[in-house]
Subunit: 340 residues, 2 copies
């Protein structure tokens, strides 16, 4: 019975059914399985204890059953959800990862995860900072903001920058990077509380609550009488349409996400793409995966304030994830799995 | 009465009313005004005799009355339409342009045009070629194809290239440039005659008649089982939507025009722009104006076969222009104003 001696209960959040339309907490379930806390002899795998797992909008796509393969794999029914998290190594057969190491990478929504390929994880070089930052400002959203803003949009001092979903994990960082670059920055968000945060805490020059604007086009004209040079695209749909009408010649649209469309059975059409031709706009999608080789350089460069919304415990993970799509979170949403 | 001695009748095509929806020949009118064949003393203007004027899809936008200024000025009611043409200088106060010079540039749909700023015109350095080529392969459409394909889409040998409106002025050249670059090239067009031309004359690897395809997405999957690297966008709308589903990761979409949308009172929406994010696509508009400084370099580089559709005489100009929007033209459409 030696094999059972290293088995422990392993609470996990599993997907119960594939989702169409708006997801609900009930599409997920918290169950208890078991985990082994050792790696098989000769394996280069590692076992990690998860400390924080991140709630990110792109996860909605993984809750759909795709006919053609998507850019990230669909979740597997009955298995733990998978996303970026912060973990401590508790067993390792990999020469680069030792027991006790703090790491971040693609892990399970569960207490313990067996990681077959530890080399996909990053070491945490600043454990003196709040570890949860490695799901945000120093993790995937941070690298996303940094790559999208600097590498894709090629900002110049004085550029007029608009950020949608501006108080979220990525948006709040884009705004601050833009201010550091000498840009004029306006953000949109879905509540007065978030708008207030943009102006008082994140240093946006202007901000508005898009849910209170009768006419998005007019709101943008009010904020950008000279037009927009850079639109950091997080939402898609009607906001993108209003932005296209207000872009300046040679404007750039780094396309990071389109959260307004993820839960629609029939996405909304954007009817004024001809502005891309007439104004010589560049709209360019990007993925954080393509910038992982620059992570440690980024980690050293990055600093700044950051707002988090931490849910305590895996039991609250489904609600935290669903909250993203109604905008309930204020700042970067994540889940504390274990407080060490 | 000396002033009248250099006045001659000047036949011209004028816009009678601003257009909504599909334009008709009756929106234009051929009238006879007068022109002076001299320039005022001390002026640096020139007078040109127009030989060919070009019919280009973008002209539809200039037939609309815009509330906000468009990227090119609206036509002026009662004045001659304005577009690129080939002309001979018959009077000049400009040191760089002499009587007898052959030039091309933005001129009037009329027999004689007073050009206040001759420096916006290009000299024709190869008068041994058919002069009409300077409205096509050696003119604006040629420079457009060259700039959009090489500078915007950054092609590599082996890339899979799709061109819409492929037998038109720009498309036929893009296809040939792509073949010269070692790409696999498929074109779409709106008649079997055009499709045949693409395969037999322009060297496209494959071509299809989009009007005969029940399902554009399926047609593209058939032609591009591995997906599309470069889509040279001339049409917009449902074709763009079908293409986005078939793009490969890191694909590029130089956006040259969207002719399918120009005559719609309410443009069609494109619903699957999320592919831009997921596949890290770059969609980038461009304008030939931005490449005029490279024209003479381009003129020397360019060669190849080219199909034209020449209407004889200004009387046939309105029908030639309208024909663009129903696809009646085969190849580059232009109007011969005067055969010297």
């Amino acid at each position: 019975m030696a094999a059972a001696r290293d088995e422990v209960p392993n609470k996990r959040v599993v997907l119960k059914r594939y989702v169409t339309g708006f997801p609900s907490e009930d599409d997920m379930e918290v169950v208890t399985a078991t985990a082994r806390l050792t790696v098989p002899p000769g394996s280069t795998a590692m076992v990690v204890k998860n400390l924080y797992v991140s709630c990110d909008p792109y996860m909605r796509g993984r809750m759909t059953k795709h006919e053609r393969p998507s850019y990230v794999p669909d979740f597997v029914l009955g298995e733990a959800l998978v996303n970026f998290g912060v973990s401590r190594v508790i067993a390792s057969g990999h020469p680069d990862f030792k027991v006790g190491d703090l790491v971040w990478g693609m892990t399970g929504w569960e207490e313990y995860t067996l990681v077959p390929k530890p080399e996909s994880f990053f070491k945490i070089n600043h454990p003196e900072l709040p570890l949860s930052y490695y799901t945000g400002v120093l993790g995937m959203p941070g690298l996303t903001a940094w790559a999208g803003f600097f590498d894709v949009s090629k900002p110049k001092k004085g550029d007029y920058v608009f950020v949608s979903a501006a108080s979220g994990a990525v948006g709040q960082l884009v705004g601050q990077l833009a201010k550091l670059t000498g840009c004029y920055v306006v953000g949109s968000a879905g509540s007065d509380e978030k708008v207030n945060l943009l102006k008082t805490k994140f240093g946006f020059d202007e901000a508005f609550n898009y849910k209170k604007e009768q006419d998005l086009d007019a709101a943008l004209r009010r904020c950008f009488p000279e037009g927009i040079d850079i639109y950091f695209e997080n939402v898609g749909g009607p906001t993108l349409e209003a932005v296209l009408s207000n872009m300046r010649n040679h404007g750039r649209i780094p396309a990071c996400g389109m959260i307004s469309q993820y839960n629609l059975e029939q996405p909304e059409g954007v009817r004024n793409l001809f502005h891309i031709v007439a104004k010589r706009l560049r709209m360019e999608g990007f993925m954080v995966f393509d910038y992982f080789s620059e992570y440690y350089k980024f980690e050293e460069e990055m600093a700044g304030s950051y707002v988090e919304d931490i849910a305590e415990g895996l039991e609250r993970a489904p609600a935290a994830l669903i909250g993203l799509y109604s905008g309930r979170n204020v700042g970067k949403q994540l889940v504390a799995v274990a407080r060490e």
